[in-house]
Amino acid sequence: MLVKRDVKALQNIYLIEVLKGLAITMKHMLFSKAVTIQYPEERRNYSDRYRGMHYIKATNGVENCTACMLCPTVCPAECIHIVAGERPDKEKYPVKFEIDILRCCFCGMCEEACPKDAIKLSKIYEMSTSKRVVYDKDYLLEQRGHK
């Protein structure tokens, strides 16, 4: 379908519009700064609420998690797998805590559901890897965040 446009006679000559366009690009070249950054050296500053790679918060080297199963229950992607166990002092703890990161959709619901402030999402977004796709407990216990 042909759309009727309101074109002025001078615009039909097109040459003046071309010159205007050239002036605009030259203005950008001379007077505006690049919006891109030198990535590995420079980084964007993301918000503290950014939802990146998971970690389990630990206090005095012991994970906060009590294997209450709230996070696997709330997880919409069903990527958290916990096997609960019991410590000698009768406290419940996760024997196995695995996150299948390829299924994770980074919604952050596990973080919100956790009553013990144990599972957290850090600001790390460089997660590409050639091997580890299921994060185990040892890997998750590395303290990555500062929240």
Binding site: V18, M26, T36
Partner: protein, 365 residues
């Protein structure tokens, strides 16, 4: 040109050819760099800046990449024409520069050396005919690729080149009428005369001042002839993938790319010679020459050097214009290209001839 060539002439000729060929080859990596960095700056990006100072060696690395890539034709192509096509498109690009003067002449003893590989008495026709050969490389490549997108690119290229060659030739007629010669050296020399003297400023008799309409038509046509945006329909990345060089890779693709950039250089040199005085000194350079005590017969080298610099600067400006326009204006639709070529530029170039003839009849030009 005299028929007998002695050793001096042969050496001079060899040197000129070597300089021109090497310069044309060097233009390619530099222009690729200018294109990439320039486009980045025009679009508020940074562009390749890691390898070498300002990213200058990026093109070298790319060249190494292209040359070391595996060179094999896919099964469905016609191998002979497939391999011939890049050569056919590259060769005319080099040939054209033979008739373009890049400085005036220098006297060495009793010999005069022209800074032009061949001052053919049919220079203009030679350039026009050799440039129109470059379409064969594109058609051959697209047909031999045996791919429908390539074929579409080739067809578009044919239609576009033929339509715009007409207006291009007719636009040049105006220049031929004014300067009364189709010898490139004569045209460049004739543009040294003064057109109007405005106090201390002398407006030279450059083609652009005598033929403003012809210049605009010619410039638009060169963009179509070199398949650069806004006329890059044969490539048309977003419509027909990569058009005629879709099936090419490694250095065969590199040769198509070299041909494009060398064609750009030749087109810029052609525009410069016809409309911007060729090697005629840029404004201010005559002043520089007279006030530095470097004039007269003994300092011909200074004049020649400045002429060469003027020529290079003018050509560089048009090359930059190619890049600048490419990253400003989007591609035309096919019917718009045909409309512009046949219904706008062709009548305008005919009108240009009419006006020029009338003005010559009235002895204004």
């Amino acid at each position: 040109m005299n028929a007998e060539l002695d050793t001096f002439d042969l050496i001079a000729m060899g040197l000129k050819i070597a300089v021109v060929v090497v310069m044309l080859l060097q233009v390619v990596p530099i222009m690729v760099w200018v294109e990439r960095r320039g486009s980045a700056l025009l679009q508020n990006r940074l562009g390749p800046n890691r390898i070498g100072p300002l990213g200058l060696f990026q093109s070298l690395v790319d060249a190494v990449k292209m040359m070391t890539k595996e060179d094999r034709a896919t099964g469905h192509v016609n191998p002979f024409y497939y391999r011939l096509a890049p050569l056919v498109s590259l060769l005319p690009a080099f040939l054209t520069f033979a008739a373009i003067p890049f400085a005036s002449h220098i006297t060495m003893g009793d010999k005069t050396v022209q800074f032009q590989i061949a001052d053919l008495n049919v220079g203009l026709l030679y350039i026009l005919s050799v440039t129109s050969l470059s379409v064969y490389g594109i058609i051959m490549g697209s047909w031999a690729s045996n791919n429908k997108y390539s074929m579409l690119g080739g067809l578009r290229s044919t239609a576009q080149m033929i339509s715009y060659e007409l207006s291009m030739g007719l636009a040049i007629i105006g220049i031929v009428m004014i300067f009364g010669s189709i010898q490139m050296g004569d045209i460049a020399t004739a543009q040294g005369a003064t057109l109007i003297q405005l106090g201390p400023i002398a407006i030279p008799k450059w083609g652009v001042f005598l033929q403003p309409l012809g210049f605009i038509i010619f410039l638009i046509c060169t963009y179509a002839e070199t398949n650069r945006l806004p006329f890059d329909l044969p490539e048309g990345e977003s419509e027909i993938v990569a058009g005629y060089h879709l099936e090419y890779y490694s250095m065969m693709f590199g040769m198509f790319m070299m041909a494009e950039y060398i064609n750009m250089t030749v087109a810029s040199a052609f525009v410069t010679t016809l409309y911007f005085g060729g090697w005629q000194l840029l404004p201010g350079m005559t002043f520089l020459l007279t006030h530095s005590g470097l004039e007269g017969m003994n300092f011909e080298w200074a004049r020649v050097a400045l002429e060469a610099i003027s020529f290079v600067l003018k050509v560089a400006f048009f090359m930059w214009l190619f890049v600048w326009v490419r990253w400003t204006i989007p591609r035309f639709r096919y019917d718009q290209v045909m409309h512009l070529g046949w219904k706008v530029l062709l009548p305008l170039s005919l009108l240009n001839i009419l006006i020029t003839g009338f003005l010559i009849y009235l002895k204004v030009l």
